[in-house]
Symmetry: C2
Subunit: 629 residues, 2 copies
């Protein structure tokens, strides 16, 4: 590992990149790679994507003039080099740490960050908006959207590209094609066929007329077909993009900075949609990452010399692992269970399922909308699809859940991972809203397991239920309870009373139930009796139990790791109001009405009071005893 940052230390802004000799740029790239590897080996982060675009990023900043020019990094997890070249080298050690640099691109972090991002496939749409804006203002600055081939599988990218070609604005799309083992999915572009439809109408008309004279299968027809085939074989990306009214430049070796600079200099002279096709290697320059780019896509801390992950103290299996394992067990006994992921087989824990049941596993690409509607189709055919998805990405499929699944009560199971605070990925990735946006949908049953054993039980419950149903669980390790051998479902709509006490009533959803229990037991030692209820169901909420308990204990605290606006606590308030109960004092704990920045899960929970101490304090406050310590 080279710890010489002589060039990098002197880069205060992109102007300093431009002032370097071209010949010095490969050394700058080497220094950036060293710094990325050194830092991410400690902090964790998106290693392979960021290593892949170091040369590309240098070339972009060498040619373009940000911030007047805009460089929009799609997803934003590949922007480490960009951060170092735009005045953030000295703070790079704080990457993904509380109060430190974001792991993504954030407008609020730097004027060089053109668009805030964390979810995939927004860069073309945003860039096109900026390009249209610049044209309306008469500004001649450039807009560059840097998008990976993976992000191109999303409908949003297609929608953007579709309009970009049509509008003929001054937009440069850099296609970062890293040719992964995951098949590069470069979507086709807007306008292509429609333009072809008109321009080739005469040809088609002729063909049609010709065909009507012949039966299918005749020699002439086959000849026609062969003619088409031969043309087809010559369709290149360049022809395709150009057919969509993009000027095509490439393919260019994405690790030859000199070639990249030449291409960007050329493309900068154009003023209509241009696509620069750049071939990169994910993980470039760090052999373990080049060998295993999937593992090193997003990684925890690791040993630089070997790439081996730094072993941690043994912790309970993660919710993700328990989900994956349980689903396999259940699927072994029920061949109607199938699984769907949107490009996240590893992250959602479905990878082992895919090995066990390859024909019952569907990876739809970065396409949450399609994934949900596709699952609805499987449900129509009598299957029990399990859509495993991160809570934050479920936001992309809201309409499909509502319109395609819930109106007809189709039995689709949503296994929502990363519900609540996800930690280092920050505000774009917290699963802070699912309880709110899902519980307003009719016919949806919404559960939150309190621990990994309950996750297993709720997964079984969901698969037996026969309608739209979801369970949401957090990122990270379970609480450490044993997952029972024989999985028993939980009764739909029933909460569970844990501790009993007459001073306060705590209604908690998800693993915070355990923090609440600890808080209650601490208070019990002070002579304060707290009833703790594991809500289990956000919807249908256990009104009967809640009302009967509220009548006895009218001092209620609700706890959830979800937005307070419209979440579980709000459901409790509705339930109390609808029962005509008044005189119940309800205090609510959860995620406040703002976006929560990054930090460790523990830090963030502590800062929001979502731990034992915070809960104990709130109970005391609810009882008017917060002055007594």
């Amino acid at each position: 590992m080279n710890n010489n940052y002589s060039l990098l230390e002197n880069i205060a802004s992109p102007a300093d990149v431009k002032s370097l000799e071209r010949e010095a740029l490969p050394e700058l790239a080497a220094q950036i790679r060293s710094k990325i590897i050194e830092t991410v080996s400690r902090t964790g982060g998106h290693l392979a994507p960021s290593l892949g675009v170091v040369d590309l990023t240098i070339a972009l900043h060498f040619v373009f003039n940000t911030p007047p020019d805009k460089i929009i990094f799609d997803v934003g997890h590949q922007a480490y080099a960009h951060k170092m070249l735009t005045g953030r080298f000295s703070r790079f050690d704080t990457l993904r740490q509380r109060g430190g640099l974001s792991g993504f691109v954030r407008m609020s972090e730097s004027p060089y960050d053109a668009f805030t991002v964390g979810h995939a496939s927004t860069s073309i749409s945003a860039g096109l908006g900026m390009a249209c804006g610049k044209e309306l203002k008469g500004e001649r600055a450039k807009v560059v959207s840097v998008i990976g081939d993976g992000s191109m599988t999303a409908g949003l990218a297609y929608e953007g590209l579709n309009q970009a070609g049509g509008l003929k604005k001054d937009l440069i799309v850099v296609l970062n094609d890293n040719d992964m083992s995951i098949a590069p999915n470069v979507g086709a572009l807007s306008g292509f066929l429609s333009r072809k439809l008109s321009s080739s109408r005469s040809f088609l008309g002729w063909r049609e007329e010709f065909k009507s004279l012949l039966r299918q299968g005749s020699v002439a027809y086959k000849l026609m077909k062969r003619l088409e085939e031969s043309f087809k074989a010559f369709i290149t990306p360049g022809m395709l993009f150009e057919a969509f009214d993009f000027n095509y430049f490439g393919p260019i070796n994405g690790h030859r900075i000199d070639h990249l600079i030449d291409a960007f200099e050329a493309v900068r002279q154009t003023n209509s949609p241009a696509l620069v096709h750049v071939l990169t290697t994910k993980g470039k320059g760090y052999e373990p990452a080049e060998r295993n780019p999937t593992y090193f896509h997003g990684v925890g801390s690791f040993e630089v010399s070997t790439g081996n992950c730094v072993s941690r103290a043994a912790s309970p299996p993660s919710y993700t692992q328990v989900f994956g394992k349980t689903l396999i067990e259940l699927a072994q006994k029920d061949d109607k269970i199938v699984a769907v992921t949107a490009a996240m087989p590893e992250g959602t824990g479905l990878a082992p399922f895919a090995l066990h049941f390859p024909e019952r596993f569907f990876d739809v690409g970065i396409a949450e909308q399609h994934g949900v509607t596709f699952a609805a189709g499987l449900a129509v055919e009598g299957f029990k699809p399990v859509v495993a998805i991160y809570s934050t990405f479920m936001q992309r499929a809201y309409d499909q859940v509502l319109h395609d699944v819930c109106i007809e009560k189709l039995p689709v199971v949503f296994a929502m991972d990363r519900g609540g605070l996800v930690g280092e990925d920050g505000p774009t990735h917290h699963g802070a809203f699912d309880l709110s946006f899902l519980r307003s949908i009719p016919n949806f049953v919404l559960m939150a397991p309190a621990d990994e054993n309950e996750l297993a039980r709720m997964l079984k419950t969901a698969l037996e239920y026969g309608g739209p149903i979801g369970l949401r669980y957090p990122r990270g390790a379970g609480v450490g309870v044993v997952v029972e051998e024989k999985i028993k479902p939980v009764p739909i709509g029933k909460a569970k009373v844990l501790d009993q006490g007459g001073d306060a009533l705590v209604l908690a959803a998800g693993p915070l139930v355990h923090e609440a229990l600890c808080a209650a037991r601490r208070l019990a030692k002070q002579g304060i009796g707290v009833t703790v209820v594991n809500a289990r169901f956000i919807k249908p909420i256990d009104s009967e139990l809640i009302i009967s308990l509220c009548k006895k204990i009218p001092r209620v605290l609700t706890i959830e790791e979800n937005a307070l606006s419209g979440g579980f606590g709000s459901a409790v308030l509705e339930c109390i109001a609808d029962a005509g109960l008044s005189g119940v004092r309800v205090s609510r704990m959860g995620i406040p009405d703002r976006f929560v920045e990054h930090g460790t899960q523990k830090e963030l929970r502590r800062s929001l009071g979502l731990d034992e101490d915070g809960i104990a304090g709130r109970i005391l406050s609810l009882l008017g005893r917060d002055n007594h310590k």
Copy 2:
């Protein structure tokens, strides 16, 4: 108009279509068209799309064997012929009326309706799910997705097509290409470029090598370019779809039933992805609709002989019209105002804006996700984009609002039309959830004007605000108040007290404020004093006013035309709980936790108690006086 339905009357199911001689089918088509025109001229409905696919629908039912085979109509508004051929001719007069046939395709209405639909572009995803399901079950039945070229502009369709080609399942996509004046936007398909990337790597490599020897602009380079151009010109839809691993059949005249049947017979023999390209005329067979398919896309009642709309009693301008007119006035004074629609310039009232300010108007196609992120890009450049969108379609852009607009507080204005019950379009189209799913998003300001004048004021408020902000207003005519010449903004976060009285407190959002006022005045005559508050803001809610009023009048009724789960009433409950107030009795009126079927807006509101009578009754009930009449 021919009212002879001799053939149609004898069609009880598609089996009866199959039993007809091929020669009789054009007459059957004529009878269906007559019936559609006759009925829709009275009931209103989607005339032009349904007329366009009569022949196609007959051919599909002649060849395929539903319900084992599945025919999935995208959007579902073109399924009138399908309804008549599947046992619903005798009930066709009840189209779009309360208790009658849905204007869309509904699984709950008929076993021949393969998938419930109302929003565009779901058919390929759902069909692919069904095809995968059938293959897993070993069933040989066919799945046919019928999708229009317009629906192909949506990312969801692209995502589905993308995977369909890749999976090589037995799925037939019928592309209903009606070649409208709106440019036919047929998206390109999954896998195309990625396949080309690999198959043409050698060609590209050769080209790249060649190029590195030459400077750009040299003769050889230009020659290369010209070679590519010449190939490009020969790319046909067939070649494109086949490159995406679809077998291509077509283009076929969509009004020649015999040709269609031949094509479907042929395609039925295949068992890998097939695309049948059918050219149709929107409005076919009814001259006024062929001439003006946009007007006759979805239409109210009209005179059959002329196509003229049946004039109604003069009513106040619609909210849509007031929005469109006001936006033009404001835009005349502020050149930073731009407007965005997702394929709805007419429906959202933006058509006149588009004429006034063509360069400041953007129609993004059926692409709500892209539309919102595109608007975010415009906002970054200092513009004030107004996204005019139906509430129900806003569901498609939930993540983009949250992630692309609200995290950075970008000043995008959402003008959400069709908020609340939309009437005849039914459960897929009610704007019943926006208050719930939007109010949980941090940084979003959410307003509901009580009348058309307040709509104008709130639009001005929104454009002056400088952050993410939305106003939602209903379908249909305003309440009839004068829209003031000089538009005054409303203060952010402030509600407005209208009538005062000490017995009950009514907090209402949107035009139901006026129903609440009428109810209050009726009760005043009975000596019951009701304070009526126009909430104006769902978020930030006017906590200060609400708390101070609740302290004085602890019997509260909240009223909204939105789901009760997580909506405005829920926000009021949160506000009261967070203030530590107990002893306030809150009753909530709104849309219950189920999908509401179709009917007129008036019928639906009445059935849910969301009118003067219902509100008066609920106030009495809240006061324990409902026995007194």
